[in-house]
C-alpha cells in the first residue's frame, strides 16, 4: 500500500529535480527547509528523526537535494520527507511537507476492530512493518 502523507503524495515519486524545485519554492518564501526520516510511518507519528539541522541560511535548494541524497545513502530503505518550517509570527509551523523517498516495499496498515460494550467498535490502524523492532522494519 502506497503511503500518502503530506503534499503531492498522490503524484508519482519525485525526481531530484522536482524536489529541488519544490524546496526552492519553500526557500524563496523564507521557510527553513529540513530533511527527516522514519521507519514508523503511522499518520499520527508527526515526529520523524531529523537528518541534520534545518537549513536556515541556504539560499539554494541544491543543498536540500544534496542532503536528501546523503540521507538516502544511510536510510535509503526508509521514508524520507522534506519539510518547510515557517517562522513567521502567527504561523510558526510546518507549511509544506512531502515524501522524498520511500521503501521498496510498503506493506501497509492493519485495521484492528475492538468490540466494546454494546455495539461500539473502536478502530485502530497499525503498520505491518512496525511489528519488527526499529531499524529492521523495511528490509
Amino acid at each position: 500500500m502506497r503511503l500518502t502523507q503530506g503534499t503531492f503524495s498522490f503524484l508519482p515519486d519525485f525526481t531530484d529535480e522536482d524536489i529541488r524545485l519544490q524546496a526552492q519554492y519553500a526557500i524563496d518564501q523564507g521557510w527553513a527547509v529540513s530533511v527527516e526520516y522514519t521507519d514508523d510511518p503511522h499518520p499520527k507519528n508527526s515526529y520523524w528523526e531529523m537528518w541534520g539541522h534545518p537549513m536556515f541560511d541556504n539560499p539554494d535548494a541544491a543543498a536540500v537535494v544534496f542532503e536528501v541524497n546523503e540521507c538516502r545513502k544511510e536510510h535509503g530503505g526508509k521514508y524520507i520527507r522534506v519539510i518547510a518550517f515557517d517562522s513567521t509570527p502567527g504561523w510558526e509551523s510546518i507549511r509544506m511537507s512531502f515524501i522524498a523517498n520511500r521503501p521498496a516495499e510498503e506493506p501497509g496498515f492493519k485495521l484492528i476492530r475492538q468490540e466494546c460494550e454494546g455495539r461500539t467498535v473502536r478502530y485502530t490502524i497499525q503498520s505491518y512493518a512496525s511489528d519488527r523492532p526499529e531499524g529492521h522494519r523495511y528490509a
Binding site: N58, P59, D60, A62, A63, F66
Partner: protein, 309 residues
C-alpha cells in the same frame, strides 16, 4: 563540427545574446570600477565569451556537458581578488551558470574542524551555503599542511574535491592566494589542478594605478586630495612599496584611513570658527606627510601616537 553546423537550421545572433544576458553591464562595471588589472579583465572577457558561446552551443544541442568553471586567482595581497570574485559571481549568474550568484568567502578556519569528526560537517555546511553561488576560498594553501600528517585539512580537501566534481552544476569554487604558494599547493594536490580550468593571475598595481585607486576611494567617500597631498601620496606609494608587508590597494586604503584620521584631528586642533564643505573634505599634504613611511617605515620603533604606518 562544421558539418554539424550546417545541419542545424536555427542560427544564433551572438551580439543579441550578449546584449540580452546583461554580461555587458558586468564587464563595463569591471572596467569602470577596477583600475588597472588589464590581463585579468582580458581573461574575464575571454571567459565570458567562451561561456556565452558554450551556452549558445548547448541551446542548439551541440554541447551537453557543463564546462568546468572552477578557478584559481593568484596574486599578491590587495590586488583585487575578492572584488573580482564578486564580479565573477555576478557574471556567472547572468550567464545562467549559477542559479543565485551569491559569493561565500571562507578561509581554512571555516572549513577545517578542531577535532576528529568535526571537519566533514563543517565543510559540508559551508558547501551547502555556497550552492547556487560561488565559494571563494581565500588563502587556499593553508588547507594543506604537509608538516602535520594528521591535519584535518586533508579531509576538507577530499570533500571539496568530491563536491567540485559531483556538484559541478551547483557551485563554482574559486581558490585564491599568493602565486608561489598556490603553485606549491597545486603541485602537492594534483586533484585540484586538474579540476580547475581557469587560472587567473593578478599583477601588482603600478604607482600611477595606485594613485588613481586612492583618488577613486576618496571620491567614493566624498574626499579630495589637495595638490600637495597628491604629490606626497605618490612619494608615499613609492616608499611604501619598498617596505615589508606591502599589500597594494589594501595598504593604500589603510594609509588613506589614517590620513582621514589625521585630517579630522587637524581640523579639531586648528579650526577657528565654522568650516565649510571644502575644508571638511580636503585631505592636505600635512595629513599624509606625518606617516611613518616617510621616516623609514617599520624599522622605526612603534610609537604610541596615532601615526603608525
Amino acid at each position: 563540427m562544421s558539418a554539424k553546423d550546417t545541419t542545424v537550421s536555427s542560427t544564433v545572433d551572438l551580439a543579441e545574446v550578449f546584449k540580452e544576458s546583461g554580461v555587458q553591464d558586468v564587464l563595463r562595471e569591471l572596467d569602470e570600477e577596477l583600475i588597472g588589472l588589464a590581463p585579468v579583465k582580458d581573461r574575464i572577457r575571454e571567459t565570458a565569451a567562451l561561456l556565452l558561446v558554450d551556452q549558445a552551443r548547448r541551446d542548439m544541442g551541440l554541447a551537453t556537458e557543463t564546462p568546468t568553471l572552477h578557478m584559481s586567482f593568484t596574486g599578491n595581497p590587495g590586488t583585487g581578488k575578492t572584488t573580482v570574485a564578486l564580479k565573477m559571481a555576478d557574471l556567472l549568474h547572468r550567464l545562467g551558470y549559477v542559479r543565485k550568484g551569491h559569493l561565500v568567502t571562507v578561509t581554512r578556519d571555516d572549513l577545517v574542524g578542531q577535532y576528529i569528526g568535526h571537519t566533514a560537517p563543517k565543510t559540508k555546511e559551508v558547501l551547502k551555503k555556497a550552492m547556487g553561488g560561488v565559494l571563494f576560498i581565500d588563502e587556499a594553501y593553508y588547507l594543506y599542511r604537509p608538516e602535520n600528517e594528521r591535519d584535518y585539512g586533508q579531509e576538507a580537501i577530499e570533500i571539496l574535491l568530491q563536491v567540485m566534481e559531483n556538484n559541478r552544476d551547483d557551485l563554482v569554487v574559486i581558490l585564491a592566494g599568493y602565486g608561489d604558494r598556490m603553485d606549491r599547493f597545486f603541485q602537492s594536490n594534483p586533484g585540484f589542478r586538474s579540476r580547475i580550468a581557469h587560472h587567473i593571475e593578478f599583477p601588482d598595481y603600478s604607482d600611477d594605478e595606485l594613485v588613481q585607486i586612492s583618488e577613486k576611494m576618496l571620491d567614493d567617500q566624498n574626499y579630495v586630495l589637495s595638490k600637495g597631498a597628491k604629490a606626497a601620496l605618490k612619494e608615499y606609494i613609492d616608499l611604501r612599496r619598498k617596505q615589508p608587508h606591502f599589500a597594494n590597494a589594501r595598504s593604500i586604503r589603510n594609509a588613506l584611513d589614517r590620513a582621514r584620521l589625521r585630517q579630522a584631528n587637524r581640523l579639531f586642533k586648528t579650526a577657528k570658527g565654522p568650516l565649510n564643505a571644502e575644508q571638511l573634505s580636503t585631505i592636505g599634504e600635512e595629513d599624509i606627510r606625518p606617516s611613518r613611511v616617510f621616516r623609514g617605515g617599520l624599522d622605526v620603533d612603534r610609537r604610541p601616537e596615532g601615526d603608525r604606518a
